[in-house]
């Protein structure tokens, strides 16, 4: 991983169309501004990874599971 040191107000350019700017550093948090093309999706990493994980879990199923909510196959209990 490339590691750079930047100060408040400094920026980083990635490719020709993505710019990241350090807006503010305060109390252990860093505010970052990102300029990127509209079709370039930007997510907080932990949220993105949670969705990836859920998609992987959602692949694990069997054909019988489709009938879990079917009224005709509900067990009478």
């Amino acid at each position: 991983m490339l590691v750079l040191t930047r100060k408040t107000g400094d920026g980083i350019v990635i490719g020709d169309d993505i710019t990241i700017k350090i807006i503010e550093i305060k109390g252990g948090g860093i505010r970052i501004g990102i300029d990127a093309p509209k079709d370039c999706k930007i997510y907080r990493q932990e949220i993105y990874e949670k969705i990836c994980q859920e998609n992987r879990e959602a692949m694990q199923w069997q054909l019988d599971d489709l009938d879990v909510l079917a009224p005709s196959t509900k067990k009478d209990k």
């Binding site: 079709d39 949220i47 859920e54 998609n55 694990q60 199923w61 599971d65 489709l66 909510l69």
Partner: protein
């Protein structure tokens, strides 16, 4: 018609009638084309089978059957992916997760928007919302209350 061998057996499909995800799914960018498979029995669940990876399929459902207030408005870039002009041209679907105990959950945090007119779809992440990746179905009592008050 074409055929693929999936983990559920051989499936015949019309290549001109696939559900197309131009961007793939989140974390799965190579999964671009799916066959929509109806559920043979009655019930709200159906599934989509990946053409790009025959081992991968997802269970989907219309979340508004369970969560009457659930709405997802496409952003401009999503409308471009779907090739639609207005938000009325697209519908929302949820990916269903089936755990071993079969108490299914819906991923309301990352729904699928799809347009029946263009056969295109996109999975979106609702980052600034309180929706959860594992949302249990409302209890049947709650559903009845919701529909009777609506």
């Amino acid at each position: 018609m074409k055929k693929i061998l999936t983990r559920f057996g051989e499936i015949e499909y019309d290549p001109a009638n696939l559900l197309h995800f131009p961007a793939g799914l989140v974390g799965l960018p190579t999964l671009k084309d799916f066959v929509v498979m109806p559920n043979k029995k009655e019930g709200p669940l159906f599934w989509i089978q990946s053409i790009d990876d025959p081992d991968i399929a997802f269970v989907l459902t219309d979340p508004t059957n369970f969560f009457l207030e659930y709405r997802v408005i496409p952003e401009g870039s999503e409308k471009e992916i779907l090739k639609i002009e207005t938000e009325e041209e697209c519908y929302v679907l949820s990916i269903v997760t089936v755990p071993p105990d079969q108490n299914i959950t819906l991923n309301l945090a990352a729904p699928i928007l799809f347009s029946p007119t263009t056969n295109r779809a996109v999975q979106v992440i609702l980052e600034n919302s309180t929706y959860q990746t594992k949302t249990s179905l409302p209890a049947i009592d709650d559903q009845e209350k919701q529909s009777s008050s609506a």
